[in-house]
Amino acid sequence: MGWNWETAQELWPLLMEGLRILLLVTLISSLIALALGLVVALTDRSAPRAVTMPLFAVMEFIRNTPVLVQAVFVWTAVTMWLGTAASPMWTGAIVLGVHYASYTAEAYRAGIDGIPKGQWEAITALSLPKPRAWIAVLLPQALRRSTPALGNYVIALFKEVPILSAIGVTEMVRQVDGYAGLNYTGALEGFTIAGLIFLVVSYPVALLMRKLEKRLAN
């Protein structure tokens, strides 16, 4: 059972279909993670403790438990509620997005905390209204600082999409697994190529983020 180019060729369209779904899920999840994380970070700054304490607890719980179990849990719950099988892709994308929101919220928070004290003082001195101060002064600076961390979380999220194969999202790993199960071959080729595809997509983005991080550090 060595390497077989014909098998690899047969697998290629399946891998491409898997990649398409992979990228789609990454996109949906990232948007959720980036938006929800910001909402959480801002809520954490402005809301009363009665809101922030439970929010903190929920985020802690989400961050410290496996996304795989979360996905199966939510899928089961939604399926019971609907009375019919929930969409694996949408359920998976939302769970992954919320999971990573618990990380991006921290990245946003760090960005906001990193804004020099003088900026807040200047806002006070200029009597800028709060919404204006956030939109014009604080968020642009915070986002700049948070960008590399956020970017790295998106890469990490991308690499964790295959976890959703557990609830039937037909990304690359699921495709290869399905093929290998039917044909008793192709696992070596499929997983190797899938790994390389991950590397080819994620490495340039990772490099970009490192460059950005260095530029911000100087």
């Binding site: 496996p66 795989l68 019971m80 964790e160 194969s165 696992a187 983020m209 490192r210």
Partner: protein, 248 residues
């Protein structure tokens, strides 16, 4: 259907899977630490060849997905070793260790690079060899700085260990799905239960690492930090990139 009776009867079945999860996490973490120091020291070496090898391995394991690596190891290791390989736990530990070890290598390299140059000069002035310098001075100082990001990584590794269920290793995650079977109340209970167990394990790791950090800081005569056990996650990739920037 006696819900309470069923789930109570099922509880003892978690005993072995709990130890599989703990075993994969502890084994994976120890192997990851080994990998991290080997690759981290190589990546900080003066020699281009060592640096090149380390960088390649690090980027490779960071760039490809852990799930893929896990499946790949399961397929390839028996092929490469020309044996029927049934000990999936060993494969799990290898895959977890290599993947998170690659991330941790950046932590090790970054923390070592952040040791002030004056310390290295003092070592030269005292005629230490490379290993004496590392063992007696550099690593003891870099170690406390490594612990918080390593703690984040250890919790990621615990969560990552749930993936071994995908290659049919009967850990907690696997067991919950076996016991649940159908999407009903019982399944939801099992999944909810192990989520809580994972959370407790995370908390234990964080507490343990906080203890290590306090001890390490005391070893430097510094005031230990007073924070809650589950502190903010340290973004591992960013942390290492920042250290690289400082190093320049």
């Amino acid at each position: 259907m006696d819900f309470l009776g069923n789930v109570t009867a099922a509880l003892p079945a978690y005993w072995t899977p709990l130890w599989v999860t703990i075993g994969a996490t502890v084994g994976g973490s120890l192997f990851a630490l080994l990998v991290a120091f080997a690759l981290g020291l190589m990546a900080g070496s003066r020699f281009l060849l060592l640096r090149g090898v380390a960088r390649t391995v690090i980027e490779f394991f960071r760039g490809t997905s852990l799930v893929v690596q896990l499946f790949w190891f399961v397929v390839v290791l028996p092929l490469a070793l020309q044996i029927r390989f049934d000990a999936v736990i060993v494969i799990a530990i290898l895959a977890l260790g290599m993947n998170y070890g690659a991330y941790a290598a950046e932590v090790v390299r970054g923390a070592i690079a952040a040791v002030p140059p004056g310390q290295l000069e003092a070592c030269t002035a005292l005629s230490f060899t490379y290993w004496q310098k590392m063992r007696l001075v550099v690593i003891p100082q870099a170690w406390p700085e490594m612990i918080p990001p390593l703690s984040t990584l250890a919790i990621l590794l615990l969560k990552g260990s749930s993936l071994v269920s995908l290659v049919s290793l009967a850990d907690l995650t696997f067991q919950a799905q076996v016991l649940g079977r159908r999407p009903d109340q019982e399944m939801l209970f099992h999944l909810g239960l192990i989520l809580v167990v994972y959370f407790i394990l995370s908390y234990l790791i964080a507490t343990g690492m906080r203890f290590l950090e306090r001890r390490a800081k005391r070893g430097l005569g510094q005031e230990p930090p007073k924070k809650s056990a589950l502190a903010r996650p340290v973004p591992v990739e960013v942390q290492s990139a920042a250290a690289a920037a400082v190093e320049r």
